[in-house]
């Protein structure tokens, strides 16, 4: 019985990690995995190299697989033709909807409560009808992220029973008032970019002309009201069809992002993992595919989205259906903005190296992405934060904006001065201890076995270059020579060298570093003399 089983991980994933010799979970995995599998938002502060990728990779993969398995077994007749209906996940609390998603009502007569339909219209000419059964009603079109009260946003266009059209909180006379029994047709023409309405078949004229900034924004059918009851008609034939307009229910899949994501029985992504750099994204992607080795029924599709890879490849992957997307913030946001990536079904949002992500996020993309994923959804989107530190004000702000009652897993703690400071003094007399004169020793400052393996991702290049190659050391001394005029002291004047280490260094390391310094100082001095 593997120790990973105690965390709740399934046997197939355990088999895959055991092959990589992961026999015991690391501390961060032990703490974080059960919490993530439990379903809440989790904040994790842990050092690099502590097994963070496993800590979020294993449970996310497992939950995605469980979700896909659930979908397969319940065999929802998710037909490949799109259904437009009132969206239970995109409505105010007090709005009730019938089983078939066609009628809605709200008994709250103090506030305007609204509900949108499931499809975004991007292109073409479409219409839907609303029959007013009772109460005050406003009908029209709005963007998925606009408020649920129709007409008070600048991306929200309505026509109300008082005979007024509404947009951005501006109410102007339009058409005529309507009441119980009337059927209002709502037309959206994305070619001419106009919105118009009809009452009982009588065209009331163009209500709004959409501004150019509405170009890339999809609009959804929207009904709202006070103490109202209304029946919507999205499928044809319409009571009062209008020439040139197709009922929304018969929409061409290419005219709506939900269509492109539903073609070929495709699955929209369930999990998104954001990384700050391309290298990290690639590394995480590799790990995820390893974990995924033995999962099937159904298999989980994981794709990498970074710059520098053929875009066509990535588009094709999106067409065919991706369950987990791993990528850089820039690339993923790019795809989302272009409507290629449907984020409305995500169950998981993982921000890895969140402090780095936040530094690169100079346009506040992350909160925007978060809003787009979560707006109008009643189900939870589990958000996971992995960061080297959780205590800087910027990260704290991001936590507050994005997560909901998160649980902390802080294995790093606050940056603080430790209670005790250990002093170690190692005396080197350069005239007695002549080991520094041996170039081989001077450049080999680190014991190869004890150093972590450089994976080219987590460490900076500059350090390893010096150590691995001898001539490079000369280059460094050249650099120092150029810098020399700025240095206030002459190497020969140095009486004593104080080396400060962040952690208690190993004795050998301290000695080697001291010797290396003396070697370089002598090089500088020798070069200086040569120059004279």
């Amino acid at each position: 019985m593997s120790a990973f089983e105690e965390l709740g991980i399934c046997p197939e994933i355990i088999q895959a990690v055991e092959e990589d010799d992961w026999l015991l979970p690391t501390p961060v995995q032990q703490e974080a995995v059960p919490l993530i599998l439990g379903g809440g938002d989790v904040l994790v502060a842990a050092e690099t190299g502590s097994g963070k990728t496993g800590a979020f990779g294993l449970p996310c993969l497992q939950i995605v697989h469980e979700t896909l398995r659930g979908k397969c077994s319940t065999r929802k007749a998710n037909a490949s033709n799109l259904k437009c209906e009132l969206n239970l996940n995109d409505k105010d609390m007090f709005v009730l909807v019938t089983e078939d998603g066609m009628e809605c009502k709200s008994e709250d007569d103090k506030r305007w409560n609204g509900i949108r339909a499931t499809l975004d219209i991007m292109k073409g000419k479409y219409m839907f009808e609303v029959e007013v059964v009772e109460g005050m009603v406003r009908v029209g079109w709005s963007a998925g992220f606009a408020k649920l009260e129709l007409g008070i946003d600048d991306k929200s266009f309505g026509y109300g029973s008082t005979g007024k059209k509404s947009w951005n909180r501006k109410f102007e006379d339009y058409g005529e008032p309507f009441e119980e029994g009337d059927i209002i047709g709502c037309m959206l023409d994305r070619e001419k970019q106009t919105i118009s309405f009809s009452k009982n078949g009588r065209d009331l004229g163009v209500a709004y002309k959409l501004s150019p900034d509405m170009q890339g924004i999809g609009l959804k059918p929207h009904i709202c009201g006070k103490g109202f009851m209304a029946a919507a008609k999205f499928d044809g034939p319409m009571e009062y069809p209008v020439e040139g307009y197709v009922p929304v229910g018969e929409i061409d899949p290419t005219h709506t992002p939900q269509g492109t994501s539903q073609a070929k029985g495709k699955r929209p992504p369930l999990c998104m993992i954001l990384e700050p750099t391309r290298d990290l994204a690639e590394q995480t992607y590799k790990c995820m595919t390893t974990f995924n080795k033995y999962l099937d029924n159904p298999t989980v599709r994981i794709t990498l989205f970074v710059g520098g890879i053929d875009e066509k490849e990535q588009f094709r992957a999106l067409e065919e259906g991706v369950d987990i997307v791993v990528g850089t913030l820039q690339k993923l946001m790019d795809y989302v903005r272009r409507g290629k990536l449907d984020v409305t079904h995500l169950k998981f949002l993982v921000l890895d190296e969140a402090d780095d992500l936040q530094k690169k996020d100079d346009r506040k993309e992350i909160p925007r992405l978060n809003a787009q994923i979560k707006r109008g959804r009643r189900d939870r989107v589990q958000t996971l934060f992995f960061s080297a530190t959780l205590h800087t004000p910027e990260v704290k702000q991001m936590i507050e904006d994005i997560t909901d009652r998160p649980i902390w897993v802080d294995l790093k703690g606050k940056d603080s001065v430790p209670e005790t400071v250990h002093h170690v003094a190692l005396y080197i007399d350069p005239y007695q201890d002549l080991q520094w004169s041996d170039q081989e020793i001077a450049v080999r400052a680190k014991m190869p076995k004890e150093q972590p393996e450089l994976d080219g991702v987590h460490s900076k290049q500059s350090m390893s270059a010096i150590d691995s190659r001898h001539p490079e050391a000369l280059k460094l001394s050249e650099k120092i020579k150029i810098m020399k005029p700025k240095m206030a002291w002459k190497p020969r004047d140095v009486k004593c060298l104080l080396l400060c280490f962040a952690t208690a260094g190993r004795q050998r390391q301290v000695q080697d570093s001291a010797r290396r310094c003396i070697y370089y100082l002598n090089m500088i001095e020798a070069n200086r003399r040569k120059a004279i």
């Binding site: 019985m1 593997s2 120790a3 089983e5 105690e6 965390l7 709740g8 991980i9 399934c10 046997p11 197939e12 355990i14 088999q15 055991e18 026999l23 015991l24 501390p27 032990q30 703490e31 059960p34 919490l35 599998l37 439990g38 809440g40 904040l43 469980e66 009652r405 649980i407 902390w408 897993v409 802080d410 294995l411 703690g413 606050k414 430790p418 209670e419």
Partner: protein, 466 residues
């Protein structure tokens, strides 16, 4: 594991039903058994155990390294120095190396005897504490939700630098060294709490120096937190009293009386100590020529450096867990005091008893007529000493040590007492409760949390928002 797969029937040839509640396992069931195995089951549990064995014998390969509990009992019986038999208690289920609910005692007098961290578990000194009150269900019912919320607000669950009780590194060192005495000194525990705690809340051979700095780093922010998994703080009501005299001795005198049960352990610190030891001991095994049937059964000679190192670190982790439970007892008392506007002393919130169910102890037991010093590993199993045993508190000398067996969410918990029969047959050990019928992963797939919540709602249990 170099065994040829036997058919289920052949396997059954090694198992023999001894009486209505127990089975014995003949040596030969797995390679190298030094003593027989024995496990206690009723009909239902028997079915679970044998089904597990049946599907194992049908498998063609060892997916996920899974071994049925019976096999694990056998592997433990193959460890050097084991005495009498490898015992499986009723709630036994498959675990890391040792099954959970597996008790094994090793003769300290034999040089080859070993100690194994797998026999203690990752959550060192995971245990249960029962706290009584003067309140009745009728007192609590009207403020049920408030009380649950208050308890939830007072006792932090997660990890992070957010524990309520402030602790510094120096405090942690002391807690590791002196256990409940630390809580007593700081004012978090009552003196009577120490009396009513196993080992009096402190293992004397603890050595904080043997606990790695990584473990301490994990332990520091978690002191006073509950933890995830099957840890809980539960407000319970006495449903039935089977022996009035014994119950009164414990402070339980009427049906409907309200108690609080706290189930928690040594959190990340214990896990790290166990992990560190497993890695250490694997190295020592080749040096000392110890061979086991299962890599997960990493162990070391009791008197070797690694063995002693582990026992001292384990004791320190055990102390940590007692401090943890004491802190939570303190917070529970505060939570109740706030809601009922009376001091915890007025509410008579005494600790009935605190038991450990993941620990290894040096104890004296009668083996074949002689008194021997044994290292008893209890993993997922509770000590249950009989009346008149010198190690149990004065209050319980006549009745025997209280044994607290926690139930699962929505089912009952039980308070038992130790008996002489238990002392003879299982080295004074019994089950720990809430053993798993389904593995954690299987229950994810088969239990719907909606159903669980609905069942709890129906039975009027209060659930704080979280």
């Amino acid at each position: 594991m170099s065994e040829i797969k036997r058919s289920f029937n052949d396997e059954m040839g090694f198992l023999k039903r001894e009486d209505t509640t127990s089975y014995s396992i003949r040596p030969g069931f797995v390679q190298g058994m030094n003593v027989p195995g024995k496990f206690y089951v009723n009909d239902q549990l028997e079915r679970l155990m044998l089904d597990e064995l049946r599907s194992f014998s049908r498998q063609s390969n060892n997916a996920g390294g899974f071994l049925p509990a019976v096999k694990q009992i056998g592997n433990v019986a193959a460890l050097p120095g084991i005495v009498k038999h490898s015992i499986g208690l009723p709630d036994i289920h498959s675990g890391y190396g040792f099954a959970i609910g597996n008790v094994a005692a090793f003769d300290m007098g034999l040089p080859e005897a070993v100690v194994s961290p797998g026999g203690v578990g990752f959550d060192i000194n995971c245990g249960v504490r029962l706290v009584r009150t003067n309140l009745l269900f009728s007192d609590v019912l009207p403020v049920k939700e408030t009380l649950a919320q208050s308890l939830f607000d007072h006792i932090p669950v997660g990890v992070g630098s957010m524990g309520i009780i402030p602790t510094k590194e120096q405090d942690l060192e002391e807690a590791l060294q002196i256990g409940i005495d630390y809580s007593l000194r700081e004012g978090y525990a009552w003196p009577e709490d120490k009396e009513h705690c196993e080992e009096y809340g402190r293992m004397l051979n603890a050595d904080p120096g043997k606990v790695s700095s990584r473990a301490k780093k994990r332990g520091l922010p978690q002191l006073g937190t509950l933890g995830a998994g099957n840890h809980y703080a539960e407000i319970q009501v006495v449903d039935e009293i089977y022996d009035e005299f014994v119950a009164k001795k414990m402070g339980i005198d009427q049906k409907g009386q309200v108690c609080v049960m706290i189930h928690s352990g040594s959190r990340g610190l214990g896990h790290q100590v166990a992990t560190d030891a497993l890695v250490d001991m694997e190295r020592a095994m080749t040096r000392d020529n110890i061979r086991t049937n299962d890599r997960q059964l990493a162990c070391a000679r009791i008197h070797s450096d690694e063995g002693q190192h582990y026992l001292k670190a384990m004791s320190a982790a055990a102390n940590y867990a007692w401090v943890n439970r004491s802190s939570m007892t303190f917070l529970t008392r505060q939570a109740f005091a706030k809601v009922f506007n009376q001091s915890p002393e007025d509410l008579d919130m005494h600790v009935i008893y605190d038991v450990s169910h993941n620990i290894a102890k040096v104890e004296e037991h009668q083996v074949d007529g002689t008194c021997k010093q044994l290292l008893v590993h209890r993993k997922g199993s509770t000590r249950a000493f009989p009346p008149h045993h010198p190690l149990i508190p004065v209050d319980y000398q006549l009745t025997g040590q209280p044994v607290i067996v926690g139930g699962t969410m929505g089912t009952c918990s039980y308070v038992l007492t130790g008996t002489d029969k238990g002392m003879r047959e299982t080295f004074g050990s019994t089950c720990h409760g809430a053993g798993r019928a389904l593995s954690r992963n299987k229950s994810r797939n088969n239990l719907d949390y909606g159903d669980v919540l609905k069942r709890l709602e129906d039975s009027q249990d209060a659930l704080p928002r979280s």
